[in-house]
Symmetry: C2
Subunit: 712 residues, 2 copies
């Protein structure tokens, strides 16, 4: 037996610190208790190492659970000193070593090469990473023969497969590549083969450009730290990134990895965290699940690591409060201690932030606007005016989502996928992801001529990006963002400006949405809002159809039932009830605008889509402005039969003027008289003067926008 532990990620002092929290109510103590109970349950069942299985199927899940518990049991052996954990880890690794080379390779089914355990080596990378970590925790407890068996029959063949057989795929600049290099390096450390660390850090060519961890973290993120595939894929990439960075911090201290490239690691962690809604769930930008959030394992690791290596931050404690756990590691100890000491661990309130996109930060941005109401609730608006996001991109530039009172109000549909639900095409992406979820009309955006941005062509879309106009986050009663999207439809330029406004007359921040379109040709514009809940009130004279037909035949419209339609009223209003809150949408609709109520579900023979609802305001025009507010108001609680302010306060939205200089909007209601002036000129500065005359009135303002209350 070896004398002491040489666990890749834990030293003796950390182990002692963590052990001291066993049985306490600190976040570390709670995390340990959960891990112990969870691991005990798993260990109570017989060890099972199955053969191949379908993606998402029983065998697939079993292999996933196995690596998770190899990793957990290994750590628990060091922390508790209880040999049952070492015994379990040794037995299961031995059984894998007995069987691994006997498993043939899966049949290749997608672009990712197949492994011996999983249908794609991505999963096998993850398996290797966690199993190596677990192995490194018990290695000193094994005898030479056991070590030899596991290393030669399991780990070394895996390393060969990843770096030789699939060498072409090993260290590429891609989120999957991060898993590959982290797994190979960690396994290399666990079995004392430092050459694998070198190739993982610097790439097979050793040039720090074409591959390897340093090249990956230099090239995968924008200067803002944003990851172009969006938070859902970002949180998946952040896990190997953080694990490997922590490994390098202790095993290659000369790299000074946490300072590397102007702290790119810290920056990208904070960028990811800054996208989250106030409840910790990530907006489903691009292909994404609706429920992925900061409780994900990778983000738990990232928050602990950021706290340890980039210093105290109340917002991180707020996130730990949502997570109710820490990484069971020295970094997690630091966070747990910080949490114990702090008196301010309320929910995190991140400031509004604009995250630029592209290698140089000049390919648009993602805007995250937040405003807090008097009762403390945070409203968050998200607008996409960045890049398309490659194969996982949605055609939704200038699309928005909106969250408050604990729920998403203007919804992202997310991906068309039932992840890991085996009977749903093995849990993989479904056809409806393309035919509906990625289409423009599935978003809170404007679809032109019932089509899709860039004609649903990924290459065209990847070549374009949105153009930031202004971003105002300096005052606590007004935050704003504006951006352009030129020629996403041929000959059509779009500009969307969004404001969140606090006022004593209102229960919550008012969302003003001014969607301006310029075109020399007449088009049909569909301004769509993905609402959810029960329609309470509508002032338009619509007809509910006696028979339902799809809204169209392509670009997602084939999946929308046309439930009701009618001529939109002047200042058309639709109110709905979602959860405990009322929402009212009031639009400066024009004569001949038509209002549609839709429901997802047409042409979906396998029930692959969720039955969701939208409003569409349709207008035939050349250049035009859609000006709308969304008011959050009142309270409803069915269980106690309480309802207040079910009608809201805003009654009218008017477009006073709109031209190349600016747009002037009026919002009227009970004790509400707002005039909003927005710049439409490109490349303005804070000093740029704007002046618009209309109806013997002159509206002048400086800089991006002005809000006047109670102007006559």
């Amino acid at each position: 037996m070896l004398a002491t532990t040489n666990a890749v990620l834990l030293d003796q002092q950390e182990i002692t610190e963590i052990s001291a929290q066993l049985g306490t109510n600190s976040l570390m103590g709670l995390s340990l208790a959960k891990m112990i109970s969870d691991t005990q349950t798993y260990m109570a069942a017989p060890i099972e190492v199955p053969g191949h299985g379908e993606a998402g199927g029983y065998e697939h899940n079993r292999h996933k659970q196995n690596y998770q518990y190899i990793n957990q049991a290994g750590r628990l052996f060091l922390i508790t000193g209880d040999e049952q954990y070492a015994k379990f880890t040794a037995e299961i690794l031995t059984e894998y070593a007995d069987k691994y080379l006997g498993f043939g390779f899966h049949i290749q089914r997608n672009t990712n090469p197949p492994g011996r355990l999983f249908h794609q080596i991505l999963n096998e990378h993850v398996w290797l990473l966690y199993s190596s970590l677990g192995y490194s925790c018990i290695k000193h407890w094994l005898n030479d023969e056991q070590r030899q068996h596991i290393e030669s029959k399991l780990f070394q063949p895996m390393l060969n497969m990843f770096t030789v057989k699939y060498g072409h795929d090993f260290d590429r600049i891609h989120n999957h590549g991060l898993w590959a290099v982290a797994a190979v390096a960690i396994c290399g450390l666990a079995i004392d083969k430092p050459e694998y660390v070198e190739m993982s850090v610097h790439g097979l060519k050793g040039d720090d450009v074409s591959g390897g961890f340093l090249a990956q973290i230099s090239q995968l993120f924008a200067p803002s730290g944003y990851y172009m595939e969006g938070p859902y894929y970002h949180r998946y990439a952040i896990r190997p990134l953080c694990l490997f960075a922590e490994v390098l911090h202790r095993h290659r201290p000369s790299l000074n990895i946490f300072e590397y490239k102007d702290q790119v690691i810290g920056k990208t962690i904070k960028a990811l965290l800054a996208t989250a809604y106030p409840n910790g769930v990530f907006p489903a930008l691009n292909d994404a699940s609706l429920s992925m959030g900061i409780k994900d394992q990778g983000v738990v690791v990232a928050v602990s690591l950021a706290y340890k290596h980039y210093g105290h931050d109340d917002k991180l404690l707020g996130m730990a409060n949502i997570q109710q756990q820490v990484w069971i590691h020295g970094c997690g100890s630091a966070l747990s201690q910080g949490f114990e000491k702090s008196t301010n661990t309320s929910l995190p309130h991140w400031p509004s932030v604009e995250l630029n996109e592209g290698p140089n930060g000049d390919r648009g941005a993602q805007g995250f606007i937040r405003l807090q109401s008097q009762d403390g609730d945070v409203s968050q608006l998200v607008m996409n005016y960045g890049q398309h996001g490659m194969g996982h991109g949605h055609f939704d530039t200038l699309g928005i989502s909106f969250f408050n009172r604990g729920q998403e109000v203007l919804k992202e549909y997310g991906f068309g996928r039932w992840v890991n639900v085996e009977p749903k095409f093995g849990g993989r992406y479904l056809d409806e992801n393309k035919s509906y979820a990625r289409q423009t009309i599935a978003h809170n955006a404007v679809a032109v001529d019932q089509g899709c941005q860039n004609d649903f062509d990924v290459e065209t879309a990847d070549a374009k990006h949105g153009v930031p106009h202004f971003f105002e986050n300096q005052t606590k009663d007004l935050q704003a963002v504006s951006a352009f999207a030129d020629n996403f439809y041929p000959g059509v330029d779009q500009q969307r400006s969004l404001l969140l406004i606090n006022d004593d007359a209102l229960d919550a921040p008012l969302l003003l949405d001014v969607f301006r379109i310029n075109s020399e040709e007449e088009h049909s514009y569909d301004y769509a809002l993905q609402y959810q809940g029960q329609i309470i009130r509508c002032n338009s004279d619509y007809q509910m159809h006696g028979e339902l037909l799809p809204m169209g035949s392509d670009f997602g419209y084939q999946h929308l039932w046309n439930v009701a339609q009618g001529k939109a009223a002047n200042n058309s209003l639709v109110s709905w009830l979602q959860g405990n809150s009322y929402y009212s949408w009031i639009s400066a609709s024009e004569a001949n605008d038509e209002l549609f109520f839709t429901r997802v579900g047409a042409n979906d023979p396998q029930y692959n889509l969720r039955s969701e609802t939208s409003l569409i305001l349709r207008r035939q025009a050349k250049s035009t402005v859609f000006a709308n507010v969304l008011e959050t108001h009142g309270y409803f609680n069915e269980a106690v039969e309480a309802s207040t302010n079910a009608r809201g306060k805003v009654t009218e939205v008017k477009v006073i003027a709109s031209n190349e200089i600016g747009t002037v909007i009026q919002i009227l209601g009970e004790n509400i008289h707002f005039t909003v002036m927005l710049s439409n000129q490109r490349n303005i500065s804070a000093d740029t003067q704007h002046s618009i005359e209309t109806n013997q009135q002159t509206y002048c303002w400086q800089g991006s926008l002005a809000l006047e209350k109670n102007r006559g």
Copy 2:
């Protein structure tokens, strides 16, 4: 000033006991903290006594809040000794006394006479009850003039209105009547007019039969304690019932009210509690909200009172655990102390219970079947085979609902009403309550010839009731219920038998549903299940319609979109995902059965209905048996991307035989081979022998049913 308090419901010892809990974490301490913070928030706003308003509107809500805080502030004055509470209570009562007689009467809008504050005196009764209680807490703190003003200008006129002007409506045998007598008696005590107590207890005629509290509690409940309008209305009646009973206990001890009529009060409280789902929410029998549960104020009072006066019961502590509060009263002190002492306050697991209906308990029953799985989760099945329930009754005799894993799986639609949502017809019952929610097809039942039971005629329905057949609740792996409904459709007799079966091969209790129909004429039978969630798998060759039409033109069918239909497969299977759980329905379908998928929403121009889904299996037959199982299986968690056992174990359900003696069913699947024998003979005993021969096999059993596992 008077020397000491003569609060109607609190004596000095109780006040001392309650005060001692201020600032503690006991249930009483938590309840006090919440009441104080809540009352302080309300008192911080200016006092406002508005005039008339719409049902559910602002003024209506304000009057409701006012009585609530008069009551709370009065009690808090006694408990905390802080005069700010007395001052607030005095001021607001004085302002009501200033204005009350100046308010005219509302215009009468429904069968309930109008008050001066509210559109119906029911609300005004509640107002008087709570305001009198609050007044009695501060009366000794007021001077003579204040007392005189409040009593002569407010309370006495209210008493006159209720007992003279609306005397004909005062003490009737009805749940509203309970509020009337409780309010009048409590006010009588508060202002020292004992004559009002007498008339409230014994009725205006003093005969204890035609009216008054004693007559009400003798006549309103079945011997089982069940209230025919269902738990939703029961929990509303239980509040004045308990408050008045507690008042009588201390002010008319000679009545010995808690022993009255063989403990009718205790019995009806326990009957109400025994209907609740494991999460504390009441099944929405008849017109009811889907979210009303044991956290309702009335039930909080009832649980505390039952614990004090009918003794310790672990199930009551389990309910208090869900409530996380107690009645702030001596009864609540007792419960809070019991809770502190107990080591077993897990969620309550009520035994299966059959609650008979009708004054003599011979008008059918409501069946509540519960079975616990190995992981502790309780599955609950509810079947209605009792009375119709008068004006709030639904036409759903033999209808069922089913709950497990924290959610209702086979759903009750509940009422067609957005309670207190003012823009939805003042929060009152909507037309769609009749046109959809009360119809047979809206339930988990069989609709015949696309019609409704008893042709939707209340008088016909009230004259009938279901007939209990057997109820088996003795073993922990099998519970069962069976009942008949004869002639609810002309010439059609129905029998429904339901079993919950535990087995090691299954994740959770299996629900077997055997719905047997006898008729000499051919009919079209629609076996309907109200499911909720995402369809995962279906083995029938259905077509999703390219255009949607309503399922019919009357009896609720006009509100159902026909989304998809097809010939049902042999052993047709439909799986869906609801929340974190999978459900599979496997049916012994017959050749030519047709399967429909529906969605609520057609012919609902105001969006008054919720968009819910159902499966319908349609069969043309004379006599027939629908035999089905519902398997609960697997686990799904999108946030952590986990899915297990998405396919379930049962593959086949067969009707081996069915005649006047019994029905024999086989259930087959992975490690599952069950044979179930059910009695169809009426008036059986535990000794009755049954024997059926079919295909050279003989099936013999004694008593109501037999279950054999692994019979060849």
